[in-house]
Symmetry: C2
Subunit: 472 residues, 2 copies
């Protein structure tokens, strides 16, 4: 068939996806789908409700939520009408949704969707400009630290389900802010110093101190006092003990309030059986402006894990965010899983098949025949119809007279073939044959078992149970 | 807990989603997920492979693909770097992917994703600016009309699975173009006239004719000749017969090629058992430039269906599109399902629950007790841990000392409660109670059966099998 009015070829169009983005196909897409199903299964186990929001928001909704990182927001062009931007995370859209639905006082919501950041991509480490987040958040006015403990429990359940060894770093925004105040950081510099401290997981103390003194304008002495605190981490109870023994620190009301939270939290975490996965790490700061209570990050542990992946989940309490949109603030706490980084890890663990996956089926319908062979196209279609009617994944060559070897090549990896021949069809029968890639010679000699058309669906189902469907 | 450095409240931020977009939550999101699962199940049954592409493409990739509708494309702001636009459909990204992967000669791919059009939204009719498409396409150099027939079969299977009564309108781009030529339309006006004819499903002939004559500059006579043809429709074989009997029409090589296709196609459709769902409708034109062979649209039939929904799926053959990106063109044929319109239909059919869904679980853990009642929070947590460990969807009130009635209110719609009391716990036991909204009085009198902690998980599983989990 020819094309009418063929459009002019445009050899100048660069054949690529935009910087920092990629396509996902076949096994990759199915593996990612498996990750989504695993994670959302845990969310649902904890009473989670799905939410889906538009990929872009009114620009004003995003303004003033991300501190220094606001420059990474993608804007839509002004084409008349409202000014919009692509979402930067799933937390702000959730807060906007809560502010819009004042009748919802309490919700556990989850969302699995792409977010957008004009960051420097690092594809090999799983860092993209378009990437998925899986978020689970608990909103509502509950007693302190009960939802926080459940979020940390959810984190542990998710990585147990994904069979990844992890550790959780925990800190508290109020303790950190109080600690900065006690060290002598002026109020207006606390967020700046906080984002410098946050780099301690990648940088050494000397470099972070240099940034504080030279860029943020702290005195040498104040920077050193900060350094004494933020280089401490350990078990939660142990760290609470250390901080409580510092009377100057505990005189600060923020530190005191944070320690009260941590006292409750550690008790709940022990009962929920996850305290041993968590360390109290005073260097954890988290860049985002909106955190107000406990904050946490998940890192990989165990052998053979690529250490450069960085944190694979992060979250915390953000009691003030909904109040930025509404006079009716709702306290919230949540976690966001970095699915693309998790994908990179699970993908590296899998044994990869060399062949690219471009079709997939459980049954392939083959035509065979002697010198009068006419391809049996309509007969193959009729058998396909029979199998499709029964919900069985089936394919056949879209050729009028396909060659026999071509059909067997096309059916590579498909566990069963139905072989049609003129004589068998005349007798109301077909041949059903189990294909095993490991033993090509036997397969070629085996002509398959004769099955009547009436019994075909049942026989196929029985054999598929025995040999297993094609792996997804 | 108080927020540090509370951000300034911004009462000026409008609390809404951008024009033509909406949020999806709870039952709505779950119903849509059900539609996705149903449709992708059919796709996989036909050997479909999933593909996911970025939400935006390089702008040049979209340029020149959508005719008049190009003005509806959303552009990203130029923030330095590449110029990008949001995808307008899933077909062009697929063609771009094929052009990038020259080793892939054949693929059946499906994609379920959002697309973006700056169109006038009509929310009540399910027309949005951000909406989902579900696409299934067969790419590859096959014998004529075999994949086309399979696509039409897929359409019928999908709507059977969704239990929606439909009819398919079928036409052929080459027949339409040839027919315009025979009627006397100059070559350069064929696309313009085609888009006028496409309005015949919503407008009467007199208005379409007026547009042709006054806006597109056709003579009265040419317009009338077009009118004689395009107001015809009927069964495929019947219409082929009528067209073949018109010798002037059949003298046109495009018409002849199109009729050869239709001859083959109707035979295959009959064998696949779907010909009776399809009418050959010469008024169907489809606006997009890239179609080159059969084109089709799906409309609802049956009683009580809102007729204003318009087409709920559409597609066709587009052999030239990949060649716009690559010197190695690949013939393609496909179908796109309008999921949001399908959602509107299925949602209207469901009996809606009045209560908004904001949590979901199979078990709710309740604390009860007399005057020494302390809320049993840690005990409730420990039972939740036990149930979560077994993968059972469980919740409890996030309060230290929740009131009994509050707990029963919060557990509305949850089929089972586990009731904790000090004395029972001391004996290693809890109470397990089936909740039935239909019989509140009996429920309140029934104190539940005593179960030991060791047997709890097994008893819960048994009861859930009997009463059924909370409906999703």
């Amino acid at each position: 068939m020819t094309t009418n009015n063929p459009p002019p070829s445009r050899p100048g169009v660069p054949l690529k996806t935009p910087k920092g983005t990629r396509d996902w196909v076949g096994r990759d897409a199915l593996l990612r789908e498996h990750i989504f199903q695993t994670i959302s299964g845990v969310f649902r186990c904890h009473g989670g409700i799905p939410l889906d929001t538009p990929v872009f928001e009114l620009r004003d909704v995003l303004t003033g939520k991300y501190g220094e990182d606001s420059r990474l927001i993608y804007n839509l062009e002004d084409q008349g009408g409202e000014l919009c931007s692509l979402r930067y995370d799933l937390t702000v859209p959730f807060a906007r949704w809560l502010a819009m639905h004042r009748n919802v006082k309490r919700i556990k919501r989850y969302q699995i969707a792409k977010v957008y950041r004009r960051d420097q991509p690092a594809i090999s480490r799983g860092r993209f400009r378009e990437f998925y987040q899986c978020d689970f958040d608990i909103a509502g006015d509950y007693d302190p630290m009960i939802p926080d403990a459940e979020i940390l429990r959810v984190i542990v359940e998710v990585f147990d389900a994904l069979q990844l060894d992890i550790a959780i770093k925990l800190n508290h925004r109020q303790i950190l802010d109080g600690l900065f105040a006690v060290a002598g950081v002026p109020e207006e510099k606390i967020r700046l110093v906080s984002s410098a401290v946050d780099k301690l997981d990648k940088a050494i103390w000397a470099d972070v101190k240099k940034e504080m003194v030279e860029e943020k304008g702290l005195s040498d002495e104040v920077a050193d006092r900060i350094g004494e605190y933020v280089r401490r981490s350990g078990g939660i109870r142990e760290m609470i003990q250390i901080l409580k023994s510092d009377s100057e620190l505990c005189g600060n009301k923020n530190v005191k309030a944070g320690l009260d939270d941590m006292d409750l939290l550690v008790t709940y975490l022990e009962v929920m059986g996850v305290a041993d996965k968590i360390s109290f790490d005073l260097s954890l700061a988290r860049g985002l402006d909106y955190y107000s209570g406990p904050i946490y990050e998940v890192i990989l542990t165990g052998k053979n894990q690529p250490s450069q992946v960085g944190s694979i989940a992060a979250g915390g309490r953000y009691d003030g965010l909904v109040g930025m949109y509404s006079k009716h603030p709702i306290p919230c706490v949540g976690i966001s899983f970095g699915v693309d980084r998790i994908f990179t890890l699970l993908d590296a663990r899998q044994n990869k098949s060399s062949s690219e996956l471009t079709h997939e089926a459980d049954v392939y319908i083959v035509a065979a025949g002697g010198k009068d062979y006419d391809g049996l196209l309509l007969e193959r279609m009729a058998v396909a119809r029979q199998l499709w009617d029964a919900g069985i994944r089936s394919e056949f060559a879209a050729k009028v007279k396909p060659k026999l070897m071509q059909q067997f090549n096309d059916s590579e990896c498909v566990p069963l073939t139905v072989i049609l021949g003129q004589d068998e069809l005349a007798a109301g029968q077909v041949r059903l044959k189990v294909m095993r890639a490991s033993d090509q010679e036997t397969v070629q000699k085996d002509r398959g078992q004769l099955v009547s058309r009436e019994d075909l669906v049942q026989e196929v189902k029985t054999l598929l149970l025995a040999v297993g469907p094609q792996q997804e």
